[in-house]
């Protein structure tokens, strides 16, 4: 099935994308409301929550350039030392800009 990108066609496409995205935003909570939360399920959810972050970041580091690597490692070190996100992010972004400027 295809939709021509006429004026209405584009609107329909945008609407479809909106609905699909909405389904993902609502779906997780909706499904969970039918699941009885046992300690096991809760442990699953909690571990998964921070694993989402790792799963986003690691391929970003492996697929990225030297700037990306520098940004992530500087952020990690700053964060572990200072325990404050803002300086960590700022240092990471600055590292990316510096590495890309120099090399």
């Amino acid at each position: 099935m295809t939709i021509e990108t006429t004026t209405t066609g584009v609107l329909v496409l945008i609407l479809i994308m909106t609905l699909v995205t909405l389904a993902t935003r609502f779906g997780g909570v909706l499904i969970m409301s039918f699941v009885r939360i046992s300690p096991r399920i809760e442990s699953f959810i909690n571990t998964m929550a921070s694993s989402v972050l790792i799963a986003i970041i690691v391929p970003m580091a492996f697929g990225g350039d030297a700037g990306a690597l520098a940004a992530l490692s500087v952020t990690a070190v700053t964060m572990l030392v200072l325990q404050k996100p803002l300086p960590a992010i700022a240092a990471g972004v600055f590292a990316a800009a510096a590495v890309r400027y120099l090399f």
Partner: protein, 226 residues
């Protein structure tokens, strides 16, 4: 305040999207409308690749769903916080759920605070930043030629990393992270694009499922209701 660096990044990212969309032949108003309604950057970029005189619907739906399927997991992880919230409020909060405001809320929850305001407030800020960015990109696209040179493409990555490292770390979490990292890398390499987040997250979750946190005063946290 914690949303400020991210909002700047979102404006830049939105501008990049606006520029790309107009170059692909989308009308300015349609582009802004898409950002307003869909509000999910990576999937919007991905569908641009599929844009032409005709667009096939099913692939667009599959791609948008796959890229945004991480929302399912994020929503699920918020459920313990949201279960006492009235459904109308619960689902309005979720309208503006994104990586960044979810990460803050999830971290706060690990520390024992229920911070739903950050989802709503942060989400609205990000939403407006996304629309503003798209608008800028559509009309003044040439201004932000190369945000990469400024390291702006790394803001989200650094932000999410600092959120992860700010949480509590235990052997259990570290094993889960290692597995999540391996699974996401494997999926990134061999599975279709954009499945890596879900694969990694589920792998990490499995560790949590089988390796329960020891709670003082409880011998085993079995599934027996108390």
């Amino acid at each position: 305040m914690r949303m400020l660096p991210i909002s700047l990044f979102v404006v830049a990212f939105g501008a990049a999207f606006g520029l790309a969309a107009v170059q692909k032949g989308l009308a300015p108003l349609d582009t802004i409308l898409m950002s307003t309604l869909v509000f999910a950057g990576a999937s919007q970029f991905a569908t641009l690749d599929m844009w032409g005189a005709e667009v096939s619907v099913i692939p667009v739906m599959v791609v948008v769903f796959a890229i945004n399927s991480r929302h399912l997991l994020m929503g699920a992880s918020l459920y313990p916080m949201l279960k006492d919230v009235a459904p109308a409020k619960r689902y309005s909060l979720l309208l503006v759920l994104t990586d960044a405001n979810w990460a803050i809320a999830a971290q706060d929850y690990q520390r024992g605070n229920r911070n739903l305001e950050v989802i709503l407030g942060g989400g609205l800020v990000l939403w407006l930043a996304w629309i503003l960015g798209t608008w800028l990109g559509v009309y003044f696209g040439g201004l932000l030629q190369n945000p990469k040179n400024l390291g702006l493409d790394m803001v989200l990555g650094c932000f999410l990393l600092s959120m992860a490292l700010g949480g509590k770390k235990s052997p259990r979490i570290l094993v889960a992270w290692a597995l999540a990292a391996l699974a996401s890398l494997a999926a990134w390499k061999w599975l279709p694009a954009n499945t890596h987040v879900v694969a990694g997250a589920l792998a990490g979750g499995v560790v949590g499922f089988f390796w329960l946190e020891k709670k003082p005063g409880k011998e085993t946290a079995g599934e027996t209701p108390t």
